[in-house]
C-alpha cells in the first residue's frame, strides 16, 4: 500500500519532468532559446520556455507569427538590434541578467545586445572588455540617457523645479565630454520592462491620476486618457511614443518608423501574453485543481479592474486553499504544501498589512497620510496583473538614499529642490535615478518609478528598476527592510512561492 501510494505520488512528478523536457528551449538549448534579430523564425501561437521555477508560456493571439520582415524582429538600426533583442520570449518579453551573461559567453561580447550606446556602462569605455558591460551582465541594466533640463512631457515643455549635480560618476556617462547635465543629458541605468500583456498596462480604470492631482493626460494620437503605466519614468504615454523612443535610442535607427511599421509592432505587442504556466514544485500546471494561472486567463480577461472592488488580486490561486482530498492524493506532500503556500501567499499579499512610510506617490501628495497602514495590494491593485490601476509612479526608495543600498557602480546625483522641499527627503536628495522627476520636472517626483506587471517574474530576474533584488526572495527582503514589516519566515516563503508562479 505504501509502495503504491509512493508510485501514485511520483507520477505527477514524472509528468512534470516530462513536460519540462518537452518545453521548447530548455536551458542549454541556446540556439532555440535566443531569438536573434532577422533570423526569420516562426513564433508559435503557444511557446513554452523553462526557467528555474518551471516553465513560462507565451501566447500569440492570431498566431503563429511569421517574423521574417516583421519590424519587431528585424534589425532596423545601425547596431544590428531588433526589439526582440531586449524583449525575449523566454524572458517574459523582457531580458534577464542570466540571458545577458549567456549571450556574452556565446558570442564573446559581440552580440548586438552589448551595443556601446546602452548595452555598456558607457560608450567611452573599452567595449571589448567584460567589465565595461558589468551593469548589464550583473544586474540586467541598460543605460538610459534623458535630456536635461527636462524638455518635454507628451510634447509639453517643462521647467524643472530642481537642479541636478553629479556627486559620483563611476562610468563616465555623466561627466565625460558630451555627457552629463552640463552637456544637456543625464544617464541612469534601468531594467527592461516586459512587452507583453499590454492591454493591462494600457488600461484606464478611473479618469484621474490621484498621485499627480489631475485628470489623466490625453493620448496625443487618439485623444483618450492615458494609463501612465508603460515606462519606468512615464516618459512615453502610448506605444507609438515608446517605440519611437526605443528605435531611435536602443536600435540607433536613424530614420523614423513608418506608420505601417508602428502598426505592425503595436498589433504584435497587443497580441502577446505571457505568464508562468507550470511549476515542478506545484506538480504541474498552474491552471489545474481549480487555479487559473497561466497566460490564457490573461488573454481572455478584461483589463483594468480594481481588485478591491471586484475580483481580488491573485485570486487565481484561491482554489488551492481548499484542494479536495481526491486532488491532494494526486500530489506529493511537497507539491500539496507548495500549492497551499501559493494560496497563502496570495492572502498575505492582499491582507497582511504594514505601515507604509515616506513613500511619495502613497504617503504624499495624496491624502492617505504618512504613515498609512495597508498591504502589497494597495499599489499592486489590478486584477490579474498586479500593476497599479492608476498611473503607478511610486517611490519605494529603491533608487534614492537613505533607503537605497550603496551601489558604488551607479552614478549618484544630488538634487536640490528650488521651491517646496520634497515631502519626505527635504531640500537635498541623493539619488541614483530621479525616475519620474526626469519626466515631470518636479522635485516631489524624485525617485518615483512606475510599478510594472508582476507576470512572468520567474523568467526575468533581477528585479526592481535598478536590479537591486537578484531573486524573488530579494524582493521580499527589500520590502521587509524598507518598511519593517515583520513578515514571518513562512510568510516570506509564501510570497516567494506566489511570485514564482505568476
Amino acid at each position: 500500500m505504501r509502495v503504491t501510494n509512493r508510485i501514485k505520488r511520483s507520477l505527477p512528478l514524472a509528468g512534470a519532468a516530462l513536460a519540462l523536457v518537452l518545453a521548447v528551449g530548455a536551458r542549454g538549448d541556446a540556439p532555440d532559446r535566443w531569438w536573434s534579430p532577422g533570423e526569420g523564425r516562426v513564433l508559435p501561437a503557444s511557446l513554452d520556455y523553462t526557467n528555474e521555477h518551471g516553465a513560462l508560456r507565451t501566447l500569440v493571439v492570431g498566431g503563429p507569427l511569421k517574423t521574417r520582415g516583421h519590424p519587431f524582429f528585424e534589425p532596423l538600426g545601425a547596431n544590428g538590434r531588433a526589439c526582440v533583442t531586449c524583449h525575449q520570449p523566454a524572458d517574459a518579453m523582457s531580458l534577464s541578467a542570466r540571458t545577458a551573461q549567456e549571450r556574452w559567453e556565446a558570442t564573446g561580447g559581440k552580440d548586438p545586445l552589448f551595443a556601446a550606446i546602452d548595452g555598456s556602462n558607457c560608450p567611452i569605455l573599452p567595449q571589448g572588455e567584460k567589465a565595461s558591460h558589468s551593469l548589464l551582465l550583473e544586474r540586467g541594466l541598460f543605460r538610459v540617457q534623458r535630456p536635461w533640463p527636462v524638455r518635454a512631457f507628451n510634447g509639453q515643455p517643462v521647467t524643472p523645479d530642481f537642479t541636478i549635480e553629479v556627486v559620483r560618476d563611476p562610468n563616465g556617462c555623466n561627466s565625460a565630454p558630451g555627457y552629463g547635465p552640463g552637456a544637456g543629458n543625464v544617464s541612469v541605468y534601468r531594467r527592461v520592462r516586459p512587452v507583453a500583456n499590454m492591454k493591462y498596462l494600457l488600461a484606464v480604470g478611473f479618469p484621474f491620476d490621484p498621485k499627480q492631482g489631475y485628470a489623466l493626460p490625453l493620448d496625443p494620437d487618439d485623444g483618450k486618457p492615458q494609463s501612465g503605466n508603460l515606462m519606468a519614468d512615464n516618459r512615453a504615454g502610448n506605444l507609438r511614443l515608446q517605440m519611437e523612443d526605443a528605435s531611435s535610442v536602443h536600435l540607433e535607427f536613424a530614420r523614423a518608423l513608418t506608420p505601417a511599421q508602428i502598426k505592425r509592432i503595436r498589433d504584435f505587442e497587443l497580441s502577446i501574453y505571457t505568464a508562468q504556466q507550470s511549476s515542478p514544485a506545484a506538480g504541474g500546471g498552474l491552471d489545474t485543481m481549480g487555479a487559473t494561472g497561466g497566460p490564457a486567463k490573461l488573454r481572455d480577461s478584461q483589463p483594468g479592474a480594481l481588485g478591491s472592488i471586484g475580483t481580488p488580486v491573485w485570486s487565481e490561486f484561491a482554489a488551492w486553499d481548499r484542494i479536495s482530498a481526491e486532488d491532494a492524493a494526486k500530489l506529493t506532500p511537497q507539491q500539496l504544501a507548495f500549492r497551499q503556500s501559493v494560496a497563502r501567499g496570495a492572502r498575505v499579499f492582499r491582507d497582511r498589512t504594514f505601515l507604509i512610510t515616506d513613500s511619495a506617490g502613497i504617503n504624499s501628495r495624496m491624502g492617505f497620510g504618512n504613515p498609512v497602514r495597508n498591504s502589497c495590494v494597495f499599489c499592486h491593485n489590478m486584477t490579474q496583473m498586479g500593476n497599479d490601476v492608476a498611473p503607478g509612479q511610486v517611490d519605494l526608495g529603491t533608487t534614492t538614499q537613505p533607503f537605497a543600498d550603496p551601489w558604488d557602480d551607479l552614478p549618484l546625483f544630488r538634487i536640490t529642490c528650488l521651491n517646496q522641499p520634497h515631502p519626505h527627503y527635504g531640500k537635498i536628495i541623493l539619488t541614483y535615478d530621479p525616475g519620474f522627476a526626469l519626466t515631470s520636472g518636479k522635485c516631489a517626483d524624485v525617485g518615483k518609478i512606475t510599478l510594472q506587471s508582476m507576470r512572468g517574474l520567474s523568467a526575468r530576474a533581477p528585479y526592481f528598476s535598478n536590479g537591486l533584488a537578484k531573486d524573488l526572495r530579494g524582493v521580499v527582503d527589500y520590502y521587509e527592510r524598507r518598511y519593517k514589516i515583520g513578515y514571518t519566515e513562512q510568510e516570506k516563503q509564501d510570497l516567494v512561492n506566489l511570485m514564482s508562479v505568476l
Partner: protein, 256 residues
C-alpha cells in the same frame, strides 16, 4: 468688570471653551499616529489643541496628516459617543499639512481598534460604469472644488468626485464655455498663536490646476481662468460646514 470678562470669553477661540456637539474647533499642532489595526487604512490620527490641552481624533479628514509636519485642524465636535481611537471625535474635520516640522510620534493601539475602512461617500465609479445622464433643463451652474490649506492639489475621493459629477453634467448640458475661478484665504488669521494666511498666488494655481483637469476631461470646451484673493466663507454643502474649507476653493462656472 463682568462685561469685560464676558467680552474676553467671546473673543476666545471655541476650542478654549467647553466644546459641545457641533462646535467648531480650530488649532495648529503636531499630529500623533496611533497604530490601531482594524485592517487597511485603519490607523488613527490624533491632535492636541494647545489652547486647551484637549486631544482630538481627527482621522476622518479627507486629507490626512504627515507625522513630520504640523497640521491645521478644523473640525466640528461630533455627536458620536464612541472613541475608537482614544479621543473625542471631530467630524467633519480637515487636517492641512503645514511646513512647520514636528517630531514623529506613534502610539501603540493600546486597545483601541480604530475604524475599519469604508469607502467615503464621495468616491467615483470606474470608467467602465456608465454615468447616468443628468436631466435637463440646463442653465448656468457652478460646481465648487476644495483644497488643503495653501495647496492646489486635487483631493482624492473628494475633488475627483465633485469634478466627475460636474463633467458628467457639463457633457450633457453642453455649455458654451467654462470659467474657473480660484480663491485663496489670504486674510491673516491667528490660530494657536501663529499667523496663517494663504499665499495670493495659490488662487491662480488652483484655477489653473482645475482648468487643466477640465481640459483633459472635456477636450474642445473652452476653459477660462480667473482668481480672487481674500476669499470669504460660503455655505456650500460640499465644504461640510467647515468655514475655512469653504474659503479654499475653486469654482467651475458653466456659461451658456
Amino acid at each position: 468688570m463682568r462685561s469685560l470678562i464676558t467680552l474676553a470669553a467671546l473673543a476666545l477661540p471655541l476650542s478654549a471653551q467647553a466644546a459641545e456637539t457641533g462646535d467648531l474647533v480650530r488649532f495648529v499642532s503636531c499630529p500623533v499616529y496611533r497604530d490601531a489595526d482594524s485592517g487597511k487604512k485603519s490607523g488613527c490620527w490624533l491632535a492636541t489643541d494647545p489652547a486647551t490641552g484637549r486631544r482630538w481624533d481627527v482621522s476622518q479628514s479627507p486629507y490626512k496628516p504627515n507625522w513630520d509636519f504640523a497640521v491645521l485642524v478644523e473640525g466640528r465636535v461630533s455627536a458620536a459617543s464612541a472613541d475608537p481611537c482614544g479621543a473625542p471625535v471631530l467630524d467633519p474635520v480637515r487636517t492641512s499639512i503645514l511646513p512647520d516640522p514636528c517630531t514623529r510620534h506613534m502610539l501603540p493601539a493600546e486597545g483601541y481598534k480604530g475604524r475599519k475602512f469604508v469607502l467615503p461617500p464621495r468616491n467615483i465609479q470606474p470608467l467602465s460604469v456608465a454615468r447616468p445622464v443628468p436631466p435637463g433643463p440646463y442653465a448656468e451652474r457652478v460646481f465648487t472644488t476644495y483644497f488643503e490649506f495653501d495647496r492646489d492639489f486635487l483631493v482624492y475621493q473628494y475633488d475627483d468626485f465633485i469634478i466627475d459629477n460636474a463633467a458628467t453634467w457639463i457633457r450633457a448640458a453642453k455649455p458654451k464655455k467654462l470659467v474657473v475661478t480660484g480663491f485663496a484665504a489670504t486674510e491673516p488669521e491667528t490660530v494657536s498663536g501663529r499667523t496663517l494666511a494663504e499665499r495670493p498666488e495659490i488662487a491662480r494655481d488652483r484655477a489653473e490646476a482645475i482648468a487643466e483637469t477640465l481640459r483633459r476631461l472635456l477636450p474642445g470646451l473652452p476653459v477660462e481662468t480667473k482668481w480672487e484673493v481674500g476669499a470669504k466663507p460660503t455655505g456650500d454643502p460640499d465644504a461640510d460646514t467647515i468655514p475655512g474649507q469653504s474659503q479654499r476653493r475653486a469654482e467651475i462656472r458653466a456659461v451658456f
